[in-house]
Symmetry: C5
Subunit: 95 residues, 5 copies
């Protein structure tokens, strides 16, 4: 999984049928120091994340292992909202 910050929302009305009802969020990738890496992903939201929240997202076939994304053409999912992480004994982020 990688760390990300929810940066915004995306609307797509014309899409593969099975994607109906999924919420897509634009997620900027973060490094372990909570800095933007410049990378991003558009992920389905499985946990009710809001804009600005720090999240974990999974990609590839693992992104289809949630109730919402099962068997759907979706390769990235937000599967957790991060409360806190620490590196080298120092807290980097606290919600």
């Amino acid at each position: 999984m990688l760390l990300g910050r929810v940066a915004g929302t995306l609307v797509a009305s014309r899409k593969e049928e099975t994607l109906e009802g999924l919420k897509f969020l634009v997620v900027r990738q973060l490094d372990v120091d909570n800095e933007d890496t410049g990378g991003y992903v558009v992920a389905a939201d499985a946990v009710g994340a809001g804009v600005g929240e720090v999240v974990l997202y999974a990609t590839g076939s693992s992104a289809r292992q949630t109730v919402l994304t099962h068997n759907r053409p979706c390769d990235a999912v937000i599967m957790a909202i991060v409360d806190t992480w620490e590196v080298g004994g120092t807290e980097v982020w606290h919600k």
Copy 2:
């Protein structure tokens, strides 16, 4: 998923049999600011996207979770046409 703009079309008459009927599009990857990243992918089209349209595409095994691509040797699919996305409260793209 990643954002892309359909840049063109591709024709391949000699191919694995199961790919018969699939439409291949050349897609330039976009970043969250709607700029070309320099990356690209050739994707199967599951939603009837046209040249110039902004789309979402999925890669890997998730690209086989559409009716058109199921069980086919296809690792990228356009599964949605993007209407709009916003980042930081500002609309970046509107169809």
Copy 3:
């Protein structure tokens, strides 16, 4: 899928048994302007491609969705020979 040009051949007599009979080709990756990217892949050939031909290749689990590669430890397959592609209304490549 990505675009590639078949650059050469590879022989491996000692290999996982199920790979017996597969033809391996060295493929240089191309960008949408038909230029070498510097990347490459060694791919199984599912379509009878020859050295110098421009091809499409699929990677990951999708590379196992051909008759030849099914259930084999193979993560890249040439699944089509490209006749032509165009970008922005201009033909970039014609076989």
Copy 4:
């Protein structure tokens, strides 16, 4: 698999239900000379790794092939703690 050093821990109380009980670790990627590459991953821990330990981690669908991660939306797992590795006849790391 890639080499990594466990750099810290991560807590996420709101997450996909099936992830309950999984321990998430922040892992910095190492190269073969035991230097940080700058890359990282947040991985589930399948072997009881501690902060500071050098580990092997698997990504993608292979990350779901442990008892702990089976069928879960998890794309990275620590599946071994490294005792030692050598390159060119020289021991690079010894636990």
Copy 5:
């Protein structure tokens, strides 16, 4: 698949149970000109490769399609030892 040269060995006594008996090798990635790319992978050995040998390795779910790695949390496998490859009609490597 990618080309690699076996650079060394790795020992991990504490690991996911199903990995018992697998031999892990440190593999430096090669480009088509037989030069180190700087990349590497730790791969399971399915063909009895030795240090110094030039090999092909597969990654992702395809790495689990060998008898040794089936259903194991392993995302890279050496599935062939390379005898020779040629590029542009010139032999780059001969065992």
